[in-house]
Amino acid sequence: MYTTELQKTASLGATEDPERLAAFEARVAADEFIEPKDWMPEAYRRTLTRQISQHAHSEIVGMLPEGNWIGRAPSLRRKAILLAKVQDEAGHGLYLYSAAETLGTSREEMIEALHSGKAKYSTIFNYPTLTWADIGAIGWLVDGAAIMNQVPLQRTSYGPYARAMVRVCKEESFHQRQGYEIMMVLAAGTPDQKRMAQDALNRWWWPSLMMFGPPDADSPNTAQSMRWRIKRETNDELRQKFVDITVPQADALGLSVPDPALRWDKARGHYDYGEIDWEEFYAVVRGEGPVAKERIAARRQAWEDGAWVRDAAAAHARKHGRREAA
């Protein structure tokens, strides 16, 4: 997911004061919000900083595959909707950077970590958008998966993160509906459009399932994160929910999910689905996704090309004693 464990979680140091730690854990267990000025264990701070900044980076990098189609949106209405959507994602990035900054890391440091490859972002954005249907598929599947993951985070233990998620979730559900609507039009359209729609589902389905992160068995830090209420459901639980909700939506479109093993399991009351190619997932996490180099190059380029603008804004503000605007 946007926030899945793409890196090792910091281990809980033995140096924390046991009394403070116990009080902290009791507050979290009682579903109280932890606020920036409150005491927190260092490992909690580090894990959250990484999770929130990873989420922020995903929002910002995620602007690129969709931005790729703003200029080619097929109608004025679609162009406006897509512009507004990508603008929302930029806004999500901003709230999340701000939430992460309350934990004591500056936005510049986080951006530096993204550009150097130290920080990760969601694997999903390392796949290319080839046709207009990809814009539909991203809204439907990727924003759909994001909602699945983020709704529980509205009750996450860290106050600024939980509040950011409330705002973000509202917008993500618009995005999901808009994406699905694009798919509906294409699936009911000309043979060329239908082909685009099916091909987009074929390409985005598995990467969407991978967004929820490694299987629970290979996710050793889940227990700690659940205890801290940084995570509220496991990767596999969320993935199953996503499959259960999405498969009937694909049926309604008349598109087929590219998984021969997919079938309804009456006894479990869930869909069974085929094996996920975790080798591919880990390769993409390592930065080997089809357009991973393009994504990071584009972010770096924007940042470097913009340096003189940010410098000028800072210089102007210094001269005139006003707050920096860039």
Partner: protein, 275 residues
């Protein structure tokens, strides 16, 4: 060796060759006039949206997308209305996606490539200042639809104007580099200002009807406003340049064709599809 005879340059040389000669009032003047309004917004909105994901900061990215969104909204309203006025079953989409360069009526300024951020802001400041003054007047248009669109849009454009002016000031009076870039941006865009104020026969006709407005009437306000921004940016006023004209009758920069090729690709490739 034979040489070309010396060329006497008259001091008052104007445009008006085959390329940029003003056209008469032909066809449906209201339709033509709406295309001018709609195409300016459409083409600039398309240009600004190219920044998306690539701006100097997330905040700037947001503000550019915001302006693009306003402009695409204005274009939709003007072009949908143009289609109704024309009465041939075309709507905003068919006008946006199925006309070629010769039928576009935008000015040269909005077609200009983004260049660096300074050039984008020079373009925006020069255009939005004009559009703000224009829409302020069109809000009182005798045509109710135009009046309503302008009344709504003038508030959006006030913000575009302010934002762009602030950036011109900040960049002009920022660092050595930003100052040089801002001066270059103004130098690139300056020759397109005259076209904004061109009163050709169609513009004159619409002004007489009370639907359009006499552009010359706010030229002084415009010049004063732009001069004030450039002064505050501590930049020298750009020297006059020969006006480049032609956009209002379909004679454009080379850039427009490429912009349209990108923008129109899907509806052109799949003419039977609905989206």
């Amino acid at each position: 060796m034979a040489s070309l005879p010396p060329i006497d340059l008259p001091s008052n040389a104007t445009g008006a060759g085959a390329f940029d000669a003003p056209a008469g009032v032909e066809g449906n003047p209201l339709f033509e006039y709406l295309l001018r309004l709609g195409d300016d917004s459409l083409v600039l909105g398309q240009r600004l949206s190219e920044w998306c994901g690539h701006a100097p900061s997330v905040e700037v990215d947001l503000s550019l997308a915001n302006m693009a969104l306003d402009l695409i909204g204005q274009a939709t309203l003007f072009l949908d209305y143009a289609g109704e006025v024309e009465g041939k079953g075309r709507d905003g989409d068919s006008l946006a996606f199925h006309r070629d360069v010769l039928d576009f009526r935008c000015c040269w300024l909005v077609e200009q490539p983004n260049g660096d951020f300074a050039r984008t802001m020079a373009r925006q400041c020069l255009f939005s200042t004009w559009q703000h003054l224009l829409f302020g007047r069109l809000a009182g248009s005798a045509d109710e639809r135009i009046a309503a669109i302008a009344a709504k849009a003038v508030k959006e454009v006030a913000y575009h104007r302010e934002l762009a002016s602030e950036w011109v000031i900040r960049l002009g009076d920022g660092t050595e580099e930003s100052r040089r870039r801002m001066a270059d941006g103004l130098d690139w865009t300056w020759r397109f200002v005259a076209e904004l104020f061109e009163m050709d026969p169609l513009a004159g006709f619409m002004a007489e009807k009370g639907i359009g407005t006499d552009l010359a009437a706010f030229r002084a306000d415009y010049d004063a406003a732009v001069r004030a921004v450039i002064e505050q940016a501590t930049l020298p006023p750009p020297p006059d340049q020969r006006p480049i004209l032609g956009g209002r009758r379909g004679h454009h920069s080379e850039h427009l064709g490429h912009l349209l090729a990108t923008m129109q690709f899907l509806p052109r490739t799949y003419p039977d599809a609905r989206w």
